[in-house]
């Protein structure tokens, strides 16, 4: 589903954020990215949805070399990839409901589908009562859950989640992880950056560890360290 072939990412010609990364993720896998702050986890996720382009190497997503994608096709790639951003990236001028609906509107889903799916997914992340709030009227954890709901709502093939529980208490985190697990079991490929030792150790899934941009471990049923 996702394949990185000797991928190197250098920012501003000097910061090597990723060096010769080789990753092959099969359809339906659940992969944890772990590593210290600044080790390149977010960079790897950003490369996968073409938010950044690599300096060297090739990246295939859903069978296509994304470097060869013409720029007007990029939105269509991204519609197959749900992303939970580390900084949420909610639209400040839209309510919770509209933020989530936006992901469906861009792919042209009919209104009745939006009307039914959006409240359902927000119910799932525990925000059923906050549909009409604006992002700045939410707590940090609530914003993060909106971001998660938006990434899920159009049932993407691939889910990239960048520390999706960073702002959540242990109980809520557990709920989210159960949700991610369920999503994964319906066939969605999940790649998740995390520094939550508890979660990684409990889930026991494939773990890829980065250290200053280099993959130092790729373990089938791994733990945090």
């Amino acid at each position: 589903m996702i394949k990185l072939d000797k991928v190197t990412k250098v920012y501003k010609g000097e910061v090597v954020a990723l060096r010769d990364a080789e990753v092959d993720i099969q359809k339906g896998e659940f992969v944890f990215l772990v590593g210290a702050s600044g080790s390149g986890k977010s960079t790897m996720l950003r490369l996968m949805n073409k938010e950044e382009s690599p300096e060297k190497g090739r990246i295939w997503v859903a069978g296509k070399d994304i470097a060869e994608l013409s720029s007007w096709k990029v939105p269509y790639l991204r519609r197959n990839i749900g992303t939970v951003f580390q900084d949420f990236k909610l639209l400040p001028n839209k309510t919770v409901q509209e933020n989530v609906a936006f992901a469906l509107e861009v792919i042209g889903r009919p209104r009745h589908v939006i009307k039914s799916q959006v409240p359902a997914i927000l119910e799932l992340v525990g925000l059923a009562k906050k549909l009409e709030r604006y992002p700045h009227e939410l707590s940090g954890g609530e914003q993060q859950r909106v971001s998660i709901a938006r990434a899920f709502v159009n049932r993407p093939l691939i889910l990239l989640a960048d520390e999706p529980t960073g702002n959540l208490d242990p109980d809520t985190s557990l709920g989210i992880m159960k949700l991610l697990d369920r999503i994964n079991r319906t066939g969605t490929t999940v790649v998740m950056a995390s520094h939550d030792r508890g979660i990684v150790d409990t889930m026991r899934r494939r773990v890829i560890e980065l250290d200053r941009g280099v993959i130092v471990r790729d373990q089938a049923r791994g733990v945090y360290e």
């Binding site: 007007w72 939105p75 936006f102 992901a103 509107e105 861009v106 042209g108 889903r109 009919p110």
Partner: protein, 298 residues
Amino acid sequence: MALKVDYFVKETGRNLFRNPWLTIATVVTVFVAILLVGVSLLVRSGVQNATARWQGGIEFIVFMNPEATPDQIDSVARDLSENPQVETAEFKDKDQSYAEFLELFADTPEFTANITPDVLPTSFNVKPSRVDPELIEGLVLQFAEKPGVREVVAASQAIREIKSLSDGLSTGILAAALLLTLAAVVLIGNTIQTAIFARRREIEVMKLVGATNWFIRVPFMLEGILQGVVGAIAGIGGVYVVNGIVERRVQQADALSLLSSFVIKSEDVFTISIFLLGGGVLMAAIASAIAVTFYVKV
């Protein structure tokens, strides 16, 4: 697609009201630009009306007797065209004279009511080869003698000066109007770029969620166009107000023939308004399209 129209309308409306200052800024800009262009055009049309008779560099007019025979007219025409000191001579038959007469005295129907084309003289509008009082005087004397000629009227020095002045004024006003149109385009474009700049992070996010460029662009363009329409309509309203003030002033003025012939026909005002509305909207559309294309790239 039904959904998209929905979305665009909703989104545009929201943008307009969520950032009231940006909206006001654009509308004011368009308003000022349209108003100024409109007033320039009005003044231009008024000045042209006031000096209509002396447009085209005519320096004297040979009026024939209304009863002049075709032979007499032909003879004068030949003399004029053969005279090396005459550059052009344009013949006006009775109907043309009548049309011009009606136009010149449109506001005094008691004057035009009893006149028919028959009683009007035919005439030649003559432009001499040089603007030289002596030469013109010679020509006037020469043609006043010809059979069938009733009278030769030369533009007086004063009229010539006014014409020359108003020509300069017209050119100046046209230049100003062009400058203002350019300024308006720049200002609208800038305002929209500013709007986009203020929302650049939002646009970034929209792209990351899979929105195509057009999906992002359309609401901005609609917003720009709507602001253009509102500004243009307000500007046109302003033009009507200015026109009203000018009309009142002209009517109050002592019945001096020149100033009172500074009339702006209401059909002119209407034409100018349509032109302004179309121009304003087109301007806004082009400016927003450029701004939007420039900024919203993948």
